[in-house]
């Protein structure tokens, strides 16, 4: 399409000499081919995982590429009864509570930030951006010792507090930059009408913030759901493990039964993929804005 093009793009396709036109079609074909190849490579592991979940061990070993002989959910049953059910529940608890807490705290802080002028305002936002870069591994040793001192190892609340703390900088940054775009006149009008800042927040700001709140929720859900390191360190007892911790151990324990492992992985991934199919733009928006995080 681009090579040497003597005619402006607006003219009819036949405008160029015949040879050039053939070249262009060929060119377009090769581009589609490259893109299809990239797409295939992106999807292959997902394909192997999902088809693998329906196979028998012998089938998988014979060829990871073939389609399963029968679509039986037996492997899923085995995975669920071997811990995946419990882990799924734990992941749901930890993820939902920590994301809810993060959203509430971040919305409040971002509103306070964008509503009031105070000394060092810009520094607060810069600090938030800088905090996004800190990898959890750096905080791990002190936090673990504090947790052990407070007898909070293998409790959900310690992980929830840490997740909330780690999700806050990005959440505040994102919401503060959105809140500051809300026209000042709207807020002023409400205040002139005698609304308290709580009322303005609830009745004016939050109703306007649907899309950014959904975007933020999606990104945070994804992050908390996928987090491994903190959960690995803090949730040691068998009944408290999240899906990601379970997966990391299932890997070595069930190494011999690949289809069951694949079934477990599918269970961990399907909620994400379903959400991605329905809310693709929120994922893309949030993750590109939240590029600083895993």
């Amino acid at each position: 399409m681009a090579r040497v093009m003597p005619a402006p793009t607006g003219t009819a396709p036949g405008a160029g000499p015949g040879g050039k036109r053939a070249l262009r079609i060929l060119d377009r074909g090769s581009r589609q081919l490259v893109l299809l190849l990239a797409t295939a490579i992106a999807l292959v592991p997902v394909y192997v995982m999902i088809t693998g979940a329906f196979k028998t061990q012998a089938e998988f070993l014979a060829s990871p590429w073939s389609l399963p002989a029968s679509w039986s959910f037996r492997n899923f049953g085995v995975a669920v009864s071997n811990g995946f059910g419990r882990w799924l529940l734990n992941s749901l608890i930890v993820t939902s509570i920590s994301v809810a807490a993060t959203m509430a705290l971040a919305a409040s802080a971002a509103w306070g930030y964008s509503r009031w002028r105070f000394a060092g305002k810009q520094a607060v936002l810069s600090l938030c951006i800088a905090l996004m870069v800190i990898p959890p591994v750096v905080l791990l040793v002190p936090l673990f010792q504090l947790g052990a001192y407070l007898h909070q190892i293998s409790t959900f609340q310690v992980v929830i507090v840490i997740y909330t703390g780690l999700m806050l900088p990005f959440s505040i940054y994102l919401l503060a930059s959105f809140f500051s775009q809300i026209p000042e006149s709207l807020v002023e009008a409400a205040i002139v009408d005698g609304a308290s800042s709580w009322t303005v927040f609830r009745r004016v700001v939050l109703p306007l913030s649907g899309p950014p709140l959904i975007t933020l929720g999606v990104v945070n859900l994804l992050w908390a759901w996928n987090e491994l390191l903190i959960a690995l360190v803090f949730l040691q007892s068998d009944t408290k493990k999240t899906l990601m911790v379970g997966i990391s151990e299932f890997q070595s324990k069930f190494n011999l039964n690949i289809p069951v492992t694949m079934a477990g992985l599918s269970i961990a991934v399907l909620p994400l993929v379903a959400a991605y199919i329905f809310g693709q733009r929120y994922f893309i928006r949030g993750l590109t804005a939240g590029a600083l995080r895993e």
Binding site: A2, R3, V4, M5, P8, T9, L35, A38, T39, I41, A42, L43, V46, V48, M49, P64, W65, L105, A106, S108, A109, G112, Y113, W116, F118, L131, V133, I134, V137, V138, L139, L140, V141, P142, L143, F144, Q145, V161, I162, T164, G165, L168, S177, S197, W225, N226, L229, I247, Q251, M262, L265, V269, L272, V273, I284, T288, A289, G290, A291, E294
Partner: protein, 363 residues
Amino acid sequence: MERSRQERDSGAPAATARPPVVPAPGRGTPSPGVAHPAAPGPPAWRPARQARWRRHWGVAVWMLPAALVMALVFGYSVVELYVQAVTNQGSWAGLANVRLVLSDPYFRAAIEHNLQLLIAVPVLAALGLFLAILVYEGLRGWRAYRFMIFLPYILPVPVIAVVFSQLLQQNGALNEILGKLGLGVLAANWLGDPNVSLWAMMGVIIWREAGFAFVLFLARLLSLPQETQEAARIDGAGFFSLHWRITIPQLRSVIWFYAVIEGITMISWVFNYVYIMSNGQGGPGDSTMVTELYIYQNAFQFNAPQLAAAAAALLFTVLVAVFALGLGVRALVLWRRSRSQDAERGLRLTPVSGHGGEAVWPG
């Protein structure tokens, strides 16, 4: 009356002054003694003081809960981290821990591997840019491509790592494909051979992160004005000269942003890949040991938290330096460019945001 006036005059903290003022009996009476610059007369006094109270304390009330949690998770940890890095079992150790870590061959291997992983950054940027330009020029079906190429990036790394450790087995799917394509010579024991294991992991990282680069660059491309590209095309610019001279310079800020964060990822966010694909060992041998795993192992497997703290403090210091340097260079480049453009054209270009995130948000 007397009491409240004193409080007003003495400039006591507004928070304590407010309660007694509200029910004060003589608030309507003029009190000439109170010559407060911001409160000229009693009727105007209350709202003004109240507004100021809200301005100062309102921020605190709204921001306090989040600030507390962040202070605990970040503030406490970072301070405590540096304290632990220079102590050993409660007594002062100076830089002994740091020296011990720096002379540890495992730590050196870890640093080396993290630096080696940085090679993935330009590869990712080039790959993402190439795919984004292809999709951008082909536009038909770009949403479908975006959906599928971005999919890997939303999958949990532990899941990806488990699937890939199956695909990369000696008798796994990748080698099978290579054999069928007649490329059997390329087959390898991807995760079991210390010479290739780190490269294999880099491949997995690239597989997942390329989707992110692609989406980031595509979003920026879609927000560019079309006229420049079309003008260049009419002038007969070919694919490479068009994109090298026109597109890439236009994307410079987002590419820079991407390089900085992806560099930080390679230095400090690869634990999940390595932990699972090497079964928590960083092996075979030390071939996939990385800094994060070194910290984790020392803290939770070898019972040497002071070494873990020293390594973590080093990592943190380096990250802060890299981040500051990245932003600094970017700011400098922007400043110099805007100055030279000012000089050349006598006008200023639309400021490019220093933090690329903003530039991306609308897309």
